[in-house]
Amino acid sequence: MKYLLMIYAEEAGWNTLTPEQKAQGLAAYNAYTEALNAAGVRLGSNRLRDVGTATSVRIVNGETKVLDGPYAEAKEQLGGYYLIDVPDLDNALSWAARCPGAAYGTIEVRPIWEMYE
């Protein structure tokens, strides 16, 4: 069963950290990623650039609209994700709890909707 762990947090928080704290934060993520690898459950993961770099696209009346900014303005932004493959929701939740982001933000856990022919 595949789950997407989405890391939501206030981006502004990161910028207030000292270089040492940032280094520590990155090390925590590296360790977490390694733990997922060691367990053989990580399918993919990425960090996202700030929402300031986001561009939104939609088609209105046949016309492509390109808008600067994220789809939804919110206090917390999607900052990265892990795609994992584990037996069930309890496993996914226990991995989500270990994600460093759970300590300063929120991890949203969503099951992947597998599409079959």
Binding site: M1, P87, D88, L89, D90, L93, V109, P111, W113, E114, Y116
Partner: protein
């Protein structure tokens, strides 16, 4: 239906009903889909109710039901094979057929199913209804009427919860030891909610709601039998038995409300009280206390009156202190204030209630005003008591309790 075949029909229904939760749990745990298991079983049950009264109940009724249910699921998989993971399903069904041959006794997965229904990923308010539906086979309309919501709303919420169980793959298993206490708490809370809904119909006039109290007790017994080493499971059962033991005493012959302090102990069910006391004793020997054991212990201190003629109010105050520390509930604080008044006089009780006066949750909570009115009356503050009775009467839904409060209020000015 003629008198002649009502009997076999009822027997068939009773056998089917007894098996229901076990079969749902067994199937759901294997296909990881509660709704799918229920659908297949409801077809199987319909077939059983048609066949059994005529041909007699089979030797292994559960195996019979399971075979029919499996066939229905197979039909379902064939129909849906374009959208769903048909191969996985077919493989599960094949495994199911093997289990059936290898294990003539169907394993009891009901506890796992209860943990699934009370999973933290499931909205708390729907956990008890979900357990009632999956373990006991209640339909959405019956659950809705018991929980006083519309059948359509209840139906939707149940469907949504079951879809989440399937789509998010909420597991069907008893949690590991480190997680068990917290997760068991949710299961026990759901069982207690079931019991309490039934208990709220004191006269037992609505049989549907009275049945809920019985179903709550049944689930409590089931949990104790499956987790005999969990003191809180024992504590909850003791608490429910204590409450149930006093059901008959809560109304007098004329249907009037009788508060606990004025109940005649002869009207209590001693067998149930003894069973509750034994459970509580057994639980306390395990040395892990929790809210249900504390609440049961409070009931126990009340019914000491059977023997001594007086409840042990000092003990009750202390138990409420401990319970308040666990739950932080304002309701517990009200009960503590009432006990304090009994133990050390109404002025002490009023002072304790005064500390709660700022809690906005209590502004429309009837027991707060009723307790306040009673203590103020006993302390001789008639106008303040009169005012508090008015608030309490305006907030009460049960006519018997309202009549009781109105009589108390009228008595204020007579003295």
């Amino acid at each position: 239906m003629t008198e002649q075949n009502r009997r076999p029909h009822e027997t068939a229904e009773a056998v089917a009903r007894r098996s229901y939760g076990k079969l749902v749990a067994f199937l759901a745990a294997r296909i990881r889909d509660v709704a799918g298991a229920e659908d297949a079983l409801s077809d199987a049950f319909a077939a059983a109710l048609a066949a059994w009264p005529e041909h007699g109940i089979p030797d292994k009724p559960e195996a019979w039901l399971l075979t029919v249910a499996r066939r229905k699921m197979l039909d379902g998989v064939k129909r849906r094979r374009t959208v769903e993971k048909a191969e996985d399903h077919l493989q599960l069904l094949a495994e199911l057929a093997e289990t059936e041959i290898e294990t003539p006794v169907i394993p009891d997965n009901r506890l796992s199913l209860m943990f699934t229904c009370a999973h933290p990923a499931i909205e708390p308010g729907i956990r008890a209804p979900l357990i009632l539906q999956t373990i006991l086979g209640f339909d959405a309309a019956a659950i809705a009427s018991a929980f006083l919501v519309s059948p359509a709303t209840m139906g939707q919420r149940l469907v949504r919860a079951k879809a989440k169980i399937r789509e998010a793959s909420i597991p069907f298993r008893v949690p590991d030891e480190d997680e068990l206490p917290e997760r068991l708490d949710a299961v026990l809370a759901a069982i207690y909610a079931t019991f309490s809904e039934g208990w709220l119909d004191p006269a037992g006039t609505e049989s549907r709601r009275r049945n809920l109290a019985e179903e709550g007790l049944w689930l409590g017994r089931l949990t104790v039998s499956l987790l005999p080493e969990e003191p809180e499971a024992l504590g909850l059962l003791a608490l429910m038995l204590h409450a149930e033991a006093r059901r008959a005493a809560r109304r007098d012959a004329a249907g009037r409300y009788v508060p606990l302090a004025e109940q005649n102990p002869d009207a209590w069910d001693n067998g149930m009280i003894d069973a509750a006391e034994a459970l509580l004793f057994q639980a306390s020997a395990m040395g892990r206390f929790g809210r249900y054991q504390l609440e049961a212990a409070i009931q126990s201190a009340h019914v000491v009156r059977r023997m001594t003629g007086r409840a042990d109010w000092e003990a009750i105050v202390q138990l409420y202190d401990a319970l308040a520390a666990v739950t932080g509930s304002p309701v517990v604080a009200i009960n503590r204030a009432v006990a304090l008044a009994e133990a050390r006089g109404p002025t002490n009780g009023i002072a304790a209630l005064d500390t709660l006066a700022d809690d906005a949750r209590l502004a429309d909570y009837q027991p707060y005003w009723a307790a306040r009115a009673d203590l103020l009356a006993r302390a001789g503050h008639v106008p303040a008591a009169d005012e508090a009775y008015e608030r309490a009467i305006g907030l009460e839904a049960d006519p018997a309790v309202r009549d009781f409060l109105m009589a108390k209020r009228a008595a204020l000015t007579r003295h």
